[in-house]
């Protein structure tokens, strides 16, 4: 299997190329830009055929153009970050509502003000209710694999919903790592050309998409999307398993578990920070701590069942949120607690707000968190529910 040393962004660009995307409409924004630059390079070098590149005048138009292209039957791709994603927000709803399997890479970046270009998950999590699936990559390989799987999942006849592949600003986007890339023929077998649910080129049977839905009909349209999201869980597992069989990296679990079998404390989080957490888990294990890591790969659809299976066997879960919902708490923490409420799983759960705006989360930080969790479990008393871990005092 060919290997390349690439940045997370180039991994995304190569994956889009290997997925044989037909339309890319995108707008520059740091730290996403090198994805679309690389794709433009593929075109300039004649490395891709039949790829239309639309250098739009805003992210809102990027998503609108992808929507037009996808509704015309094309495989459409774009990428953005933070402010750009927020500008797209209206059209994210539109893509899902029109049941279009667009794939987008979002490079997590903190929302302004104050200006920041560094890692923070609040931009993508703020799009939680748009009907997009969300996959958080831990490393460049997962960015690449994620994009390839995303098209297959999104285009599945029972799904027809868009997917956002999320990677960390700079920590992944601009950091080089070895990425395995299968041969094009193998990818073509895994990901055949798209068979659209509908296309605007159907002149024999003209129809309209997105027409007024009165109170007598709108409700059922939403129910169908809810159902497709549930179906997507099965499809994600199937496609993740198939990916593993073909290429040796299994993604059949929506939550990746790391040394959790006999763990008393589990660190839960998403994205690149989970690499640091795994490193810390190894060190803590060698010091006698019974700890493990649970990396939530898919935030939407949310892997409720997998979380329950994990939660019922552990004493404490430390949820590391590189994001925050003002007036509430970390977003993953909030979701995870909600999932367990109607179950018999009752681990102690504490929320650590970490890494906002690119603040480093180190192995030592994770070790300190483990110690704090151990004390809480021993005393059986939560010192506080939400802790702003790095706060300068």
């Amino acid at each position: 299997m060919p290997k390349k040393v690439v940045s997370g962004n180039y991994a995304a660009a190569y994956a889009a190329k290997h997925a044989r995307v037909e339309v890319v409409a995108a707008y520059p924004i740091t730290p996403q830009t090198s994805i679309i630059e690389k794709i433009a390079e593929f075109i300039a070098n004649g490395e891709v055929e039949n790829l239309q590149y639309v250098p739009v005048e805003s992210e809102h138009s990027a998503m609108a153009a992808c929507i037009g292209a996808s509704a015309t039957g094309a495989r459409a791709f774009t990428a953005t970050s933070a402010q750009g994603l927020a500008l797209m927000h209206e059209m994210l709803h539109w893509a899902a509502g029109a049941r279009l399997p667009i794939v987008m890479v979002d490079v997590n970046r903190a929302m302004a003000p104050p200006w920041s270009v560094w890692d923070d998950q609040t931009d993508s999590l703020a799009q939680r209710d748009t009907g997009w699936m969300q996959f958080y990559a831990e490393n460049n390989q997962e960015v690449y694999d994620g994009v390839l799987m995303a098209f297959k999942i999104a285009e599945h006849e029972k799904v027809n919903l868009p997917v956002m592949i999320v990677e960390s600003a700079f920590i992944l986007s601009h950091t080089y790592d070895v990425v395995d890339m299968p041969e094009q023929e193998e990818i073509d077998e895994f990901l055949p050309p798209r068979k659209p649910l509908y296309t605007l080129t159907d002149f024999e049977n003209p129809f309209s998409v997105g027409a007024l839905g009165t109170p007598a009909d709108y409700y059922e349209f939403r129910y169908k999307i809810a159902g497709a999201m549930e179906e997507a869980k099965k499809v994600i597992k199937e496609v993740g398993r198939e990916f593993g069989e073909r290429f040796g990296r299994d993604y059949s679990q929506m939550i990746e578990l790391y040394r959790t079998d006999d763990a008393e404390i589990v660190f839960m989080g998403m994205g690149s920070l989970m690499g640091t957490v795994k490193e810390a888990v190894d060190m803590l294990r060698s010091e006698g701590y019974k700890v493990g890591a649970a990396k939530v790969r898919w935030f939407r659809p949310f892997p409720k069942e997998e979380l329950y299976e994990l939660a019922k066997n552990v004493e404490g879960i430390a949820v590391l949120d590189r994001n925050f919902s003002f007036g509430q708490e970390g977003i993953l923490f909030n979701e995870a607690k909600g999932v367990l409420y109607n179950t018999d799983a009752r681990p102690i759960m504490k929320n650590y707000i970490v890494g906002l705006g690119g603040r480093d989360l180190t192995v030592n930080d994770v070790k300190a968190i483990a110690k704090n969790m151990k004390e809480i479990i021993e005393k059986d008393e939560l010192d506080r529910e939400v802790e702003w871990y790095h706060l300068k005092r």
């Binding site: 809102h60 138009s61 153009a65 037009g68 509704a71 094309a74 059209m91 080129t201 002149f203 129809f207």
Partner: protein, 320 residues
């Protein structure tokens, strides 16, 4: 009495058919939900006739969203994508890109027409950026702005295309004499500043002229734009049987002259006035929206119309 279905299936005698200046076939069906006397509905009907249903439509939030019919109905015998208010230019760009990627023939006699059909608010205001992007990038599609000079679908609010002195629900006429205080934005000039392949004004009162321009947009390579004057009896407070008369007077008074721009050249089309334009008052007095105007207001608007008309004539002379 003949049923609608029978009418649509009627075969005309050959000698009658020969005299027709517009295609006989209908692709805009009865049952649409436009108001009586709606200029936009008439315009949409001509567009569908021009391309015989071989067109993909993108329609943003506007009256036509409703006119086309609620789910699961459509009044258009052509694929239609309903889209968000400000996105027409971007969505047609994406549709065109997809057609090219998939190897379809775009435009030309047997090609697919990609059409953005948007109102003046969706074009001159919220959609201006996407329109600019579409024109500047040179996509092979046609953008039609049907201009009824206000946000009619939301209930008659002013747009930047509303003329000076007009009453709307957010520029009402009262004791303080509010009314619209700004002149009509010249969207066509903004479009022409992009040097598009083709730009034109058209009017529902002159369907042959409109049809010719639609055909032109089909044969020309690159982005095309048509600003279609489409009276709105509901918003203009005008009698529903005066739509054509009003549209005609708008041209004859030079309030809305018909012209084309192609390859850097301007051409004023007959039936724009070839001598003195008719007095604007003839046009204004038929519409309730202008009834609050003072004599002075009318003079201001008349002066604006003639100044713009002179400017257009100069352009046609200089760049003819």
């Amino acid at each position: 009495m003949v049923s609608l279905e029978e009418v649509t299936k009627m075969e005309l005698p050959a000698d009658v058919k020969k005299r027709l200046t517009l295609p006989f076939e209908e692709h805009f069906y009865a049952g649409h939900t436009a108001c009586q006397g709606c200029g936009a509905a008439l315009g949409l009907r001509y567009v569908l006739k021009a391309y015989g249903g071989k067109a993909i439509f993108a329609i943003p939030a506007c009256c036509s969203t409703i006119i086309a019919g609620p789910w699961p109905y459509t009044a258009l015998n052509a694929p239609l994508f309903h889209t968000a208010f400000e996105t027409t230019g971007a969505v047609i760009s994406g549709i065109e890109a997809a057609l090219k990627a998939k190897g379809y023939k775009v435009k030309g006699e047997d090609g697919i027409m990609v059409i953005g059909w948007a109102g003046d608010g969706g074009t001159a205001d919220i959609g201006l950026q996407a329109l600019s992007g579409f024109l500047e990038r040179g996509h092979d599609a046609l953008y039609i702005m049907y201009d009824n000079e206000a946000y009619m679908n939301t209930g008659i609010q002013r747009s930047s295309s509303t003329p000076y002195g007009a009453w709307t629900t957010n520029t009402p006429g009262g004791k303080k004499h509010f009314l619209e205080q700004r002149p009509k934005k010249k969207v066509i000039d903004i479009v022409i500043a992009h040097k598009p392949a083709y730009a034109a004004t058209a009017s529902v009162a002159y369907p042959e002229d409109f049809m010719r321009k639609l055909k032109k947009a089909q044969t020309i390579k690159g982005p095309a734009f048509i600003q279609l004057f489409a009276p709105c009896p509901t918003g203009w407070r005008s009698p529903t049987d005066k739509t054509i008369e009003l549209a005609r007077l708008a041209v004859q008074t030079a309030y809305f002259p018909l012209f084309e721009y192609e390859n850097g050249k301007y051409k004023i089309n007959m039936p724009s006035p070839n001598k003195e334009p008719k007095p604007l008052e003839e046009y204004l007095k038929l519409q309730g929206r202008f009834k609050y105007m003072t004599k002075e207001d009318m003079e201001i608007l008349q002066e604006w119309v003639l100044r713009e008309w002179e400017e257009l004539k100069k352009k046609a002379k200089l760049f003819g």
